[in-house]
């Protein structure tokens, strides 16, 4: 297992109550959240759409993890994630997405980010708490790494 470290989530990149007109709108909102915290440059947003067209980033549990293509790593300034919740749901190629975790990572950083995120989402209690959290601080707390072998 990879070593654990806090997921790089800036509280300013958390939205509890977002709405989107569709999948691409939700992805662009994630991209803008990453842009606003200085994690990526503008071309990353197109790369996120391109990635999604190649293959869906839906991972189950009502969660999608949009991120850019490998070719867009040059426009990532630092590793970061954002969390946008869509309580009304977004149609994601037939799946209903209520939580988007946007990801920006340099080098191989995404493997660790995805692994940590997946381990959190596999815990049904945590996944539910993430969907229902009423405070930004709670979302940030829920995305702290799970201890090894608990």
């Amino acid at each position: 297992m990879p070593e654990t470290a806090p997921l790089p989530l800036d509280p300013r990149a958390v939205r509890l109550d977002a709405t989107a007109s569709g999948r691409d709108d939700a992805i662009l909102q994630c991209g803008r959240a990453l842009l606003e915290v200085g994690a990526v440059e503008a071309p990353y947003l197109d790369a996120m759409l391109e990635r999604e067209r190649t293959i869906s980033t839906y991972v189950g549990e009502g969660v999608a993890i949009p991120h850019g293509t490998l070719a867009a790593k040059d426009v990532v300034r630092h590793d970061a994630i954002c969390v946008l919740r869509f309580p009304e749901g977004v149609d994601w190629d037939g799946e209903r997405v209520t939580v988007c975790v946007g990801i920006a990572a340099r080098g191989d950083g995404h493997v660790r980010l995805l692994s940590e995120l997946a381990r959190i989402l596999m815990d049904p209690g945590r996944a539910r708490a993430l969907r229902e959290a009423a405070e930004v601080a709670e979302v940030v707390r829920l995305l702290q790494p799970i201890e090894e072998d608990q």
Partner: protein, 94 residues
Amino acid sequence: MPERTVTVASRAGLHARPAKLFVQAAAAQEVPVRIRVGDGRPVPATSMLAVLALGVVRGTQVTLDAEGPGAEAALDSLAGLLARDLDAEEISGG
């Protein structure tokens, strides 16, 4: 139980895209297939989250196992997939 140990060839490891292709291929098999890293706990190869959680990078050795009719063919097929650089097969380079 039949097993195959294979070194993951995809440039970026088993993350979103190669992981999805692998999970889809696993779901298309007639027998349940599990995947593990080293002595780790085997997880269903059909679970995207479980596969992502393994944190597999290029060069990681993973072991697949399956039991039942068609297990050997399923393992050969999936091991063959992991041994290919699935990122290189993406035209748009991501």
